[in-house]
């Protein structure tokens, strides 16, 4: 499928803008074994990583598209560029960023330095003391935090032990693609017993590669350690590369705790196909806080493999599908040990002809005696043009497991609107308030500045949803 066709699908893409950066390294369009080798060579990778990439590439060619969800046949893999490294002096200029994007940033109240980063104008934040201090604190605690490329060079043994284990390259076509051409992403190791009090945010990771198409994140939370990691940001992210396939792998060891919060808000030309998976040992707890607002087509089902007794998995997610968008998201909880528990809370909103589906799997294996799962899926459909399906799969393979599933699909009721309007709120204020209340179980889990940004963003998305 050509770019033209894609452009047709997405209509007039509001946020597109051109850059004239001179690329230092550019593999050109299309994917081949040579391209994979070239990427590895540019990165000066050890041979085991090159081998991994090559095996993944061969698997990728062989594998079929996923047999569920939206049709992906329109993706023409030869139409994308898989690796570009921009020149150091970034030539994109703030002046070239379109007014409407600047407006959005202003409405969200984003500081100057961040705006430029988000618009792709600068590759990093202006060095601020606070970031340096944070990094210094981490260093003193023995926490390793860098981009994954750097980790391959600096901590080869750790990376080699964990990389591609919880998400093998053969897992699915897009995990294979990512494994072949990955670049960037975060690497975090929290040593035994170290509990990080403050949320660790990805933008502390200065001097690293920019967010990219094929990010690869690897997080290891060792025994009794605790991490609250916030990836990305709620502000819209503009990318001219329209195929994104990230992989996130997380290991939470005995009694460890990890929370991974992210709000995905890619621009509306992006096909975003993400594999996120965590594996929890005994009494470990993994929480995915996952927001999906942007992109044209988004498929993402954060998973927890509860592999040790008493392990716990939680996913709280929202998905917002506006005009021309498909959000096919959900969660997976795989219980493989006794007394494991999981909770899924999913909130979906669609309007303007958007499609939002919940697709989830809860599996209790024969070993998962006394496992318990609770699933809650709520959807609000804001107009007659939009659609939503809830597609849960529950597998119970032992006699002593329990799964609860609750799902609601509703429209905003006339009486609720009347109630709020009778107190002086306009119709759009009333609708906004109902929607904000609906996603509150999600937004209350975000760090405050993110929650505020998210609220602002939903307000912007809601503009024009009436009349």
């Amino acid at each position: 499928m050509s770019n033209e066709k894609i452009n047709k699908i997405i209509g007039d893409y509001k946020y597109g803008f051109t850059t004239e950066a001179k690329d230092v390294v550019n593999t050109g369009k299309g994917l081949s074994l040579e391209v994979v080798e070239a990427i590895s060579r540019y990165k000066h990778e050890p041979s085991w990583m090159l081998e991994f990439r090559k095996k993944a590439y061969l698997k990728f060619i062989e594998m079929e598209q996923p047999n569920f969800g939206p049709n992906l046949d329109f993706i023409d893999f030869n139409d994308y560029t898989y690796y570009i490294k921009s020149s150091e002096s970034v030539e994109n200029s703030w002046e070239k960023v379109p007014e409407n994007i600047k407006d959005t940033f202003d409405k969200l109240g984003i500081p100057e330095a961040e705006k430029k980063y988000l618009a792709g104008v600068s590759t990093q934040f202006e060095s601020e003391v606070v970031y340096h201090n944070t990094l210094k604190e981490l260093e003193e605690l023995g926490v390793l935090f860098c981009d994954t490329d750097t980790a391959v060079r600096l901590y080869p043994d750790l990376v080699k032990e964990y990389f591609g284990k919880v998400v093998p390259y053969s897992d699915n076509k897009y995990a294979a693609l990512n494994s072949a051409v990955w670049s960037g992403g975060s690497f975090i190791y929290v040593p035994k017993g170290v509990k990080l009090e403050k949320p660790l945010q990805s933008y502390f990771r200065i001097n690293s590669e920019q967010m990219g198409q094929f990010e690869r994140t690897l997080i290891i939370v060792d025994e009794g350690a605790s991490l609250n990691y916030v990836e990305g940001c709620t502000a819209p992210i503009y990318s001219k590369d329209s195929l994104h396939a990230a992989v996130v792998e997380i290991y939470v060891k005995d009694h460890g705790y990890c929370r991974y919060s992210t709000v995905q808000n890619w621009s509306n030309n992006i096909v975003n196909l993400v594999t996120k998976r965590a594996i929890c040992s005994a009494y470990a707890h993994m929480e995915w806080i996952d927001g999906n607002i942007g992109s044209m087509l988004n498929m993402k089902y954060p998973a927890c493999i509860l592999n040790g007794e008493g392990a716990k998995g939680t996913t709280v997610s929202i998905a917002f599908a506006g005009s021309g968008q498909i959000q096919d998201t959900g969660a997976k909880m795989i219980h493989l040990a006794p007394n494991t528990t999981s909770t899924i809370i999913s909130k979906s909103i669609c309007r303007g002809g958007g499609v939002v589906n919940y697709r989830g799997t809860v599996k209790h294996s024969p070993q998962a005696v006394n496992a318990r799962s609770h699933v809650e899926c709520d959807t609000i459909i804001l107009d007659d043009k939009s659609r939503s399906d809830t597609i849960p799969f529950n597998f119970v393979q032992n006699q002593k497991a329990r799964i609860e599933h609750e799902a609601t699909v509703s429209k905003v009721s006339e009486d609720q609107l009347f109630y709020l309007m009778s107190r002086g709120l306009t119709e759009s204020q009333a609708l906004e308030m109902i929607v904000m209340g609906f996603i509150e179980p999600f937004s209350k889990e975000l760090p405050m500045e993110y929650a505020i940004e998210l609220n602002q963003l939903i307000k912007l998305e809601m503009t024009g949803s009436i009349g």
Binding site: S413, E414, D415, Q416, F418, Y419, L420, M421, S422, R423, G424, L425, T426, E427, Q429, A430, M433, I434, M436, G437, F438, I439, E440, P441
Partner: protein
């Protein structure tokens, strides 16, 4: 200066069925009116129509606030003009705290360059909560979610106190309230009465009126106000019910209680009597 809410010859349809058949009613600030009457005579329809509920179609008549046409205004405009409806069945809005909601509603009454002082707001809210003897965590609870029937009703009065309307319509505010709560609600309404505040109290029990000083009592039957008087009417209804009035007016029972009877679903079916 006193304000006037004037309703003339108001006819209202709900789903093409005429419910109100020519209501005439004038209320001034400083006055408290009560509307009484048997079930199903259109009392709540009148309340929702004054507020502008989407479901009710005005087919004839006028409704003016100080000469301004209310019928041309949306629900929220009416609210900002000073009309308030305490609802019979307040909605639950999950995820929205009472204080956020009330603050937003108060802000909606101000110009875009004016802002509510947070300190004043919290003080006022706390006072209203204690006046109504409500739980002190009320501001942080979600709007009516998990509230008992009585709490919901008190919350309506709380909103009224905070928003300070010129005209409050209280639609069966007494249902679900115990005697103590009834007294508290009555006191709070009495305290608001003044040259900027008038109320229309809708009830079909006279109990509430033990606690509220009313100036006028209107009896509604069959979509019309059929009798207007003072407090003495309450005593008469208390003693004799409505039958005497029906007789005087020559109304048949079915004429005013002509709502559809409730049809019980399958669980109440008796298979033996079916298919006959």
């Amino acid at each position: 200066m006193s304000k006037t809410l004037e309703i003339k010859d108001l006819h209202v349809n709900v789903e093409d069925k005429e419910i109100l058949k020519g209501i005439n009613l004038t209320i001034k600030t400083g006055e408290v009116h009560a509307i009484m009457g048997p079930n199903g005579t259109g009392k709540s329809t009148l309340a929702s129509t004054i507020m502008g509920h989407f479901k009710y179609q005005v087919t004839k008549g006028t409704m003016e606030l100080d000469g301004e046409n209310l019928l041309d205004m949306t629900v929220d405009e009416r609210s900002r003009k000073g009309i308030f409806l305490a609802m019979q069945y307040p909605n639950e809005i999950s995820g929205v705290t009472n204080s956020d909601f009330i603050k937003t509603a108060m802000q909606a009454r101000l110009g875009s360059d004016e802002h509510i002082s947070l300190f004043k707001f919290i003080k006022e809210m706390d006072k209203a909560v204690s006046d109504l003897k409500m739980r002190s965590d009320l501001p942080h609870r979600y709007l009516n979610e998990g509230f008992s029937g009585g709490e919901k009703k008190r919350n309506e009065i709380l909103q009224m106190k905070m928003l300070k309307p010129n005209f409050a319509i209280l639609d069966e505010i007494d249902s679900g309230l115990d005697v103590d709560a009834l007294r508290i609600v009555g006191e709070n309404i009495n305290n608001m009465r003044g040259e900027d505040f008038g109320a229309l109290v809708i009830t079909h029990y006279e109990r509430l009126l033990d606690y509220i000083d009313v100036d006028y009592v209107h009896i509604m039957m069959n979509g019309q106000i059929v009798r207007t008087g003072g407090k003495e009417l309450i005593a008469k209804i208390d003693a004799l019910g409505y039958d005497w009035l029906k007789e005087e007016l020559g109304l048949e029972d079915e004429e005013f209680d002509n709502r559809q009877h409730v049809v019980l679903g399958s669980c109440a079916r008796n298979p033996k009597t079916e298919n006959k």
